[in-house]
Symmetry: C2
Subunit: 345 residues, 2 copies
């Protein structure tokens, strides 16, 4: 199906664009009353993720309601560890929780690679197909997965953590186990991303949410190594790498085989632009908290963020997922400001 708006794909590839494309991490879910209505009719977040028709419905909502230039499939990065054998729950106000964790070789039985990814994660692929049907070519659809390091963190720690000391402990006490598990996650993730592309994802993004808890050397060994395997394997569609808080490693990430590098809200975009020149597209990075400001302030802050990028190779986004209590009208002001911005490059 031909795309009526392929702005984000052109921006990713460094092709000419008439204005900057804009979308928001977590745009599907969280802020829209229309999303809460769909979710409220089900038992919770997980049932929504696992019900393709409903997942597709909330995927398309922000395109209709907010006017973003891309949809991102409504799902969760934790579907991958679950497919491998570690079931997760999402506990209200607490976040993800795994009953079992992997902290020794014995635990590797919960990290299988010996299964049909397309079959076990068919509900996500089905949601992608339905969403594309409903989008009818209006905008591209983004697929995604967690980076191996971040998935490793959840599989070993079993829940969110300030320090992820259980996960990091393994890097010191049993690096062999760590690499075995990271390799397995990487294998499944590559298959999963390719399956999403086959199902219709027009571009894919890899999220390394916990990149920032490792120092530069350890992140190179246990994070970037596996991120790069994915970057080398995904050649079919534009790829975005987003490693939150990995400030000292960003010079390495921008050299990987990807089109776009995501920046969190604490990253100095001008510095990164100087580093990459026109060789990569940068994505980001308004502080999600800026959307708590007044409409006129949102406009000022958005324009100032846009000015800092100094290139046409920019996909506009927040520097983190949109926060649940943000007024959707402020999001609209953010999007309108981006759409009205005149590219000077």
């Amino acid at each position: 199906m031909e795309l009526k708006n392929d702005l984000i794909l052109r921006a990713a590839k460094g092709e000419p664009i008439e204005r900057y494309p804009v979308w928001l991490m977590r745009q599907a879910g969280r802020i829209l009353p229309e999303y809460r209505a769909v979710r409220g009719a089900l038992s919770g977040f997980k049932e929504l993720v696992e019900t393709p028709e409903r997942a597709a419905e909330v995927t398309v909502q922000p395109v209709d309601i907010l006017g973003v230039d891309a949809a991102i499939i409504f799902s969760d990065i934790l579907v991958v560890p679950e497919a491998m054998g570690l079931e997760y729950q999402l506990i209200e106000k607490k976040g993800p929780w795994f009953e079992k964790t992997i902290r020794s070789e014995k635990g590797l039985k919960y990290a299988s690679t010996n299964f049909d990814v397309e079959d076990r994660l068919s509900y996500v692929l089905e949601a992608i197909k339905i969403a594309n049907k409903e989008l009818n070519g209006r905008v591209p659809l983004i697929g995604f997965a967690g980076a191996p390091w971040t998935i490793f963190c959840y599989m070993t720690e079993g829940q969110g953590s300030k320090t992820f000391s259980e996960s990091r402990k393994i890097l010191y006490t049993n690096p062999t186990l760590a690499h075995e598990l990271l390799n397995r996650i990487t294998d499944v993730t590559i298959k999963y991303l390719k399956a999403q592309i086959n199902a219709g994802a027009h571009m894919v993004q890899v999220f390394d949410s916990w990149a920032g808890i490792l120092g530069e050397e350890q992140y190179a060994e246990f994070g970037l190594k596996y991120m790069e395997k994915i970057a080398n394997a995904i050649t079919e569609v534009p790829l975005t790498l987003f490693a939150k808080g990995a400030y000292s490693s960003i010079s390495k990430i921008v050299k990987m085989k990807c089109n776009t590098v995501g920046l969190d809200w604490n990253t100095n975009s001008s510095e990164i632009r100087k580093m990459v020149g026109e060789n990569r597209t940068l994505q980001g990075n308004l502080d999600p908290c800026a959307l708590y400001s007044s409409h006129s302030e949102v406009e000022i802050l958005t324009n100032s963020m846009l000015d800092s990028y100094k290139s046409k190779r920019h996909i506009v986004n927040l520097g983190h997922g949109v926060y649940p209590d943000v007024d959707p009208e402020k999001v609209k002001t953010f999007i309108k400001t981006v759409k009205n911005y005149e590219i000077k490059y």
Copy 2:
């Protein structure tokens, strides 16, 4: 009282030292069975903080048991907001929790500066006096306080958070309120640190635990500005500034009027050494998770960390508080390795 071991004070001032001084953040509490015995006899952490004899007892324990070169008074950074009018609780496995929060001008009634700091926080000052008596000059005693930005986070968010979006919201929606509250916290903190020094603290450290959640510009406006007020006010004893995760701001922190700058475990110590030369003492920064390794690995990792500092201006520490499940024997190996290390500069 004359100090028998003033190594850490000399290292802070850049004076000659025969070996590197070593201590651990959170050395008082957390890891020692002797600490848990004292705490177990009381109702919990808070009663321990508020009972000078017992607080002094656990302050001295790591000097006796681990052989560190400094004691740090056993207390909590949250005694300051409590003294100002916001009572806190410490909930097991959840962390600090405030029943009330400050999110508007009305809330400022819980942020009083109009009280006698020495009186209201007398239990900390009393603990310092008792600890010094028990230490009998064996090692110096470190006093401490939270940085205004970190205290602001707790007073506005009311608890720990991954994003501190309630705290950061105020920076956008009501910067006047933010500055008013930060000014008040700063005033009380300066009085409190001076009171600790009067009571006998030989050096003081300011902890900015949540520095890393702000971008460079906002941290300059809402964090560093108040950190610097404290640095300018504390002239009596050596001062250490520790801003966790403030990678893009460290070049500004090292220019402040302090003796020592603390580095977290993700900071590249060689880079910071190049930046400061011999103008500041650096403190840190072994990854606390390194202490999960075998004894021989702890030795290797510690020596490699020590090698990276390339100066006599180094106070050895972890890059974060020691984790509760670390084996005290591994801590002893860390300390022994530091004591055996020959300074080459």
